[in-house]
């Protein structure tokens, strides 16, 4: 049987998980840097392209 003990955190849900380890900013720093450098610019580019396309086709007529 799993024994429950409270973990000190401001999340009531996660505080009830006995082996919960709260992330410190340094734990995620490298990951966030990667996302900023590689992921976000690509998403931003796609969003820009999407708007360009929507603008281009909005007057096309369908019958």
């Amino acid at each position: 049987m799993v024994t429950r003990k409270s973990v000190k955190t401001s999340s009531r849900l996660l505080g009830r998980i006995n082996n919960f380890v709260e992330a410190k900013p340094k734990d995620l720093r490298a990951h966030v840097e990667n996302v900023r450098k590689d992921v976000i610019p690509r998403i931003k580019d796609k969003m820009r392209q999407k708007e360009k396309g929507a603008e281009r086709v909005k007057t096309y007529k369908l019958f």
């Binding site: 799993v2 849900l13 992330a23 996302v35 396309g53 369908l62 019958f63």
Partner: protein
């Protein structure tokens, strides 16, 4: 007036000509039914002098003003499986099982002879060769004092004057929304024609075509949030994004500009589980889908189109789509792909998915209620703390779910992850996740209650696999 027609073979639908007046073009009705009714249909109840709300919305605003006399009434055809008959005292009798189980749809026939098929909802069981997975909803029908229910997607032919294909596509999407979700109002086809106009023309007038922008205006006025995608700008993932929204249970308005035509995409054909063996990574489940199920006002509902057969057109003829989304979905499909591909390429601290040798990516939106129903059904396969977290974590109404599965498990319709992303996140959110996990550990971001993030290890068992999520569409495969 009500009458009954026994259908022993599809040729019997030609007998409708004797039951339906010429002004309703029974020849065209019989032609369409003859080539598309499934052999399950064994009887048609013909209901004359039917008052159809959609036709009346056009009759009052247009047809009653014309020099040619149009009837204000429609005829409604109800389709039944074998074993049902109509007695002389107007009682429907079933020889086996409950009468309701034999009902498989209806079709309104309008007195608009060029295109006579009005509001129609057919079960996939009433349609020959219907296959795959489709978006549908329950529709209630009252006839002869009976109440029936049919599950399907709304269809009608364009009127060719006051409504054209794009109006019919908008109407079918909006009628689906009003049937499926209580918060959306019902719009008759006459309303939709007016909603497309920037100014009020003072009534219904013949359409000179509908622009993509006008279709968006119709959806916006119906309190949906249309997002436009074009193939030229997305190229390699255009159809994948389209499929992600269809897999999410959101019907998609498809534009075929070369053909100047509009359709509604409501599902996909069978998944070819052997198709990804020789595909280079990253693999997407879409790559194993060869056909789409569409509502096209020129054909009976649940038309299947594929990549190769040019008759009537191929998937690649769809060059633009509009997905009319419900409120509270701000994180677009392309951002999900960007985040997931980033995770698979660069990894995530303390999580390890190197055991997924050939990962197949499938992602879709669902409601948090639907997700939790799935989690409860799969509870025996889930580590207990993961189950508890997914059941209890504060979630918005809609979430993106990402199922990454090793190819061998995917072939068995299993999934190796239930990653949950916030559908209300901004597109450029650096951490849009609620939950990521591998076999032994989960990363949780309690975005709702506390903004606390962190990891926990599964202490009772590893996460191996669960059954693929199938809660958004109705599967017939």
């Amino acid at each position: 007036m009500h009458s009954w027609l026994n259908i022993n073979s599809n040729a019997d639908v030609e007998k409708l000509s004797a039951e339906i007046p010429e002004s309703y073009n029974p020849t065209e009705v019989a032609r369409l039914l003859k080539r598309s009714l499934s052999p399950e249909v064994k009887g048609i109840l013909i209901e004359s002098e039917y008052v159809d709300k959609d036709y009346r919305s056009t009759y009052y605003g247009f047809y009653s003003k014309k020099g040619l006399r149009y009837s204000s009434f429609c005829i409604r055809l109800h389709f039944f499986r074998a074993g049902v008959s109509l007695t002389p005292d107007l009682e429907l009798r079933s020889s086996s099982g409950r009468l309701e189980e034999h009902y498989i749809g209806y079709m309104v026939v309008r007195p608009t002879p060029i295109a006579p098929i009005g509001r129609t909802v057919l079960s996939v069981h009433a349609r020959a060769n219907a296959d795959g997975a489709i978006i549908d909803a329950n529709h209630h029908v009252h006839v002869l004092g009976y109440r029936f229910e049919v599950r399907g997607f709304p269809f009608m032919q364009q009127h060719t004057d006051i409504s054209i294909c794009a109006h019919a596509a908008c109407w079918s999407i909006l009628r689906h929304y009003s049937q499926r979700y209580r918060r959306y109002a019902e719009f008759a086809v006459g309303d939709i024609t007016l909603m497309a106009s920037a100014t009020n023309p003072g009534g219904l007038i013949p359409s000179r075509g509908l622009r993509v922008e006008q279709a968006c205006r119709v959806f916006s006025q119906a309190t949906l949030f249309p997002d436009i995608y074009t193939r030229d700008e997305f190229d390699e993932n255009f159809y994948r994004l389209l499929n992600a929204y269809v897999e999410s249970g959101f019907p998609v308005f498809g534009a075929l500009h070369e053909k100047q035509h509009a359709i509604t995409i409501i599902g996909h054909g069978k998944v070819d589980r052997e198709a990804l063996d020789n595909v280079a990574a990253p693999l997407y489940a879409w790559d194993a889908i060869n056909s789409l199920v569409v509502i096209d006002d020129n054909y009976m509902p649940y038309l299947t189109i594929d990549a190769l057969n040019p008759n009537p057109y191929t998937i690649s003829d769809i060059d633009t789509f509009i997905v009319p989304l419900p409120e509270k979905i701000y994180f677009p499909a392309e951002a999900v792909e960007g985040q997931v591909e980033g995770l698979l390429a660069k990894g995530f601290p303390r999580l390890d998915w190197t055991h997924l040798k050939k990962p197949v990516i499938r992602y879709f939106i669902t409601t948090s209620a639907n997700l939790r129903k799935y989690i409860r059904e799969q509870s025996s396969a889930l580590p207990s703390e993961l189950f508890r977290t997914l059941i209890e974590i504060a979630l918005p109404q809609f979430v993106w779910v990402v199922q990454i599965t090793d190819l061998e498990d995917w072939k068995k319709q299993r999934a190796n992850t239930i990653w949950v992303l916030d559908a209300t996140a901004s597109a450029l959110d650096e951490q849009p996740f609620f939950l990521l996990h591998d076999r032994k550990t989960a990363f949780v971001y309690d975005r709702g209650e506390s903004t606390v993030q962190g990891w926990f290890a599964f202490d009772d068992k590893q996460f191996e696999f669960i059954s693929e999520f199938r809660g958004n569409l109705t599967y017939r495969q």
